[in-house]
């Protein structure tokens, strides 16, 4: 079954601002990354998927349902985590999530049980009984995720889940989203303006810009040919380049970096061996991040 399908989806706001323009995309269940700069139309798309906004033109289906004609059915099966602050400060996380579980139609005791389960899954334990106002940004983001999860949806719509988090918090949140998508059996649509984050966890990537579709594809199809190792040594870059070339590795230079296409695990060993043989101070050796970004950059100039 198709998770989300849109056909020539267009949204023009009252003031004549076009937020989405002829967007046609279909994605399969799994973790879907929706990337685009601020103002690209990500939030508008999410609101249309939830049936909160009516599209100006075009068709949309979520989990096989039409949110424009049957929003309640869609919302019963979807969990939404908004981008902005949305937690009343004087309620405890447990009370808030329980209450919202009941609004999703869970019976009272079930709502309480599932609320503490959801909070446990996002990593909030005893602190769930304290007022949300005293929580850190990371904890608040977790509560927002838990309330989207409490009624066991089939699809989660996460709008910038890593917003405001420090690097460690971002990694933890992404790991959590990945776990939900893979272990919980819930499909996830993750919105972000940071491509480098989303591409680490998603199966499918949808990139939009100015309300138009840039590209939608499986992440594997986008990155298969572009895995690259970046090597940096504090000195002797020339010598290393020559040595690697002698080992039949197609080396290219980029500033102080040497780029080597990653064929298999052996490529690592060859590079490490070469550096050790030459007795060079290795500064870093890592797999290139933002691979997909480069892919888009090549296609779209300076975007993303």
């Amino acid at each position: 079954m198709t998770l989300i399908a849109t056909e020539s989806l267009t949204k023009v706001y009252g003031g004549g601002v076009t937020a989405l323009s002829e967007l046609t995309v279909a994605v399969e269940p799994g973790i879907v990354g929706l990337v685009g700069a601020n103002g690209a139309g990500k939030s508008t798309l999410i609101k249309i998927l939830l049936g909160l906004l009516t599209p100006t033109r075009g068709r949309v289906r979520v989990l096989g349902l039409d949110p424009t004609t049957d929003p309640a059915a869609v919302r019963a099966r979807v969990g939404y985590m908004p981008e902005h602050d949305c937690l009343p400060p004087d309620l405890s996380a447990a009370e808030l999530v329980t209450h919202l579980g009941r609004i999703s139609g869970l019976p009272r005791t079930v709502a309480r049980e599932r609320a503490s389960e959801a909070l446990r899954h996002v990593g909030l334990h005893e602190e769930r009984h304290r007022p949300v106002g005293g929580y850190s940004t990371g904890m608040k983001q977790r509560v927002k995720l838990a309330q989207a999860l409490v009624h066991d949806p089939d699809l989660l719509l996460l709008d910038e889940p890593t917003n405001g988090l420090d690097p460690a918090g971002r990694d933890a949140m992404l790991a959590l989203v990945h776990r939900i998508g893979t272990e919980f059996g819930i499909s996830v649509l993750v919105c972000s303006h940071l491509l480098g984050e989303v591409e680490r966890i998603c199966d499918t990537l949808v990139a939009i810009d100015g309300g138009r579709l840039l590209r939608a594809d499986h992440i594997a199809a986008m990155t298969s040919a572009t895995d690259v190792l970046a090597v940096e040594v504090s000195e002797g870059t020339e010598a290393l380049a020559a040595r690697l070339a002698a080992l039949d590795l197609p080396v290219s230079r980029e500033g102080r970096l040497l780029l080597v296409p990653l064929a298999d695990q052996q490529t690592y060993d060859l590079i490490i061996g070469a550096v050790a043989d030459l007795d060079l101070p290795l500064h870093r050796l890592d797999q290139r991040r933002h691979r997909v970004a480069e892919l888009f950059a090549r296609r779209e100039g300076s975007h993303v």
Binding site: E117, Q147, G185
Partner: protein, 293 residues
């Protein structure tokens, strides 16, 4: 519990296949939550202070009235008059409860969490409105019940108890009228702003600032203007209907004149219906707009 070693196993995520309740239950949950919120239940101790202070005052007044009546052996205040006498406290209760019910949700941005759930747009404001009406009715009705119990226990014979019941019923109806009109106006004002202080100020302003208009209209040389003056303010509007429908309950002694509404009783009732309808319509329109944001 069945695990003798007491080890907690992470059983992982459980899908939910059980019952999902329909719209009526969801509305009920939101409504009950609203009633509790109005009285500060399930909230911090700070949020309980004001509602329970007001509740304490009205109950105490009712107890005092009952005690004095039973001492001197005659009724000093009917049930409906009690509601009239407490109108100031009702205004202040609305000024605290209505912002607590709606402004706070606007402020904290929690509304997207409601509207992304299978809850029709109109249900949220309607559940809140019904909750506030209930809270106000309880606020005015509970003390009347205290007065009734006091009156019933000191009454001689079933006949007198039955008379008390016949007096109590219009009193409770009148309390309901206060509750509906004040809740509709108060909630609409509160739904316009996310700042609770502004909302509270706005509500008090709407109820109190309209009183001078009534004052001015009621001293104009035209008798029609005088008799219609009460329409200008929610409190006098409600009193006008009360005088029209249960005059003997509100005006007990010949020297207490009470507001003169002439033959305009139906006009007062129509005005109240129109006011409530307009407030509800505006409230729904307001939330249709908020939901799309």
């Amino acid at each position: 519990m069945s695990e003798p070693t007491g080890v907690i196993h992470d059983i992982g995520y459980q899908r939910y296949t059980g019952l999902r309740l329909g719209r009526r239950h969801v509305f009920g949950a939101l409504y009950l939550h609203g009633v509790r919120t109005a009285f500060g239940l399930g909230r911090s101790a700070k949020a309980k202070i004001f509602p329970w202070l007001v509740v304490g005052i009205v109950i105490m007044v009712a107890a005092a009235v009952t005690a004095i009546s039973s001492q001197i052996g005659e009724s000093i205040m009917t049930y409906a008059q009690f509601a009239d006498a407490m109108s100031w406290l009702v205004i202040f209760f609305v000024a605290v409860a209505a912002p607590e019910l709606v402004s706070r949700d606007l402020r904290s941005g929690v509304l997207p969490l409601y509207f992304s759930r299978p809850l029709p747009h109109a249900d949220y404001p309607l559940a809140k409105l019904l909750a506030l009406v209930t809270a106000l009715w309880l606020l005015l009705g509970a003390p009347q019940l205290v007065m009734f119990l006091g009156g019933a226990f000191t009454a001689d014979g079933m006949r007198a108890v039955w008379d008390e019941v016949l007096d109590l019923l219009p009193g409770l109806l009148y309390a309901g009228l206060w509750a509906v009109v004040f809740a509709a106006v108060g909630l609409l004002v509160a739904s316009l702003t996310g700042k609770r202080a502004f909302a509270a100020g706005g509500i008090v302003a709407v109820f109190l600032m309209t009183t001078p208009i009534v004052g001015v209209l009621s001293i104009l040389p035209s008798q029609t203007a005088n008799q219609l003056a009460g329409l200008a303010s929610p409190s006098t509007l409600v009193q006008g209907i009360g005088v029209w429908t249960m005059r003997d309950q509100l005006i007990t002694s010949p020297e207490a004149a009470g507001p003169d509404i002439g033959a305009f009783g139906p006009a007062y009732a129509l005005a109240a219906v129109a006011l409530v309808a307009a407030c509800v319509a505006l409230l729904l329109a307001r939330y249709r707009k908020v939901a799309a944001r």
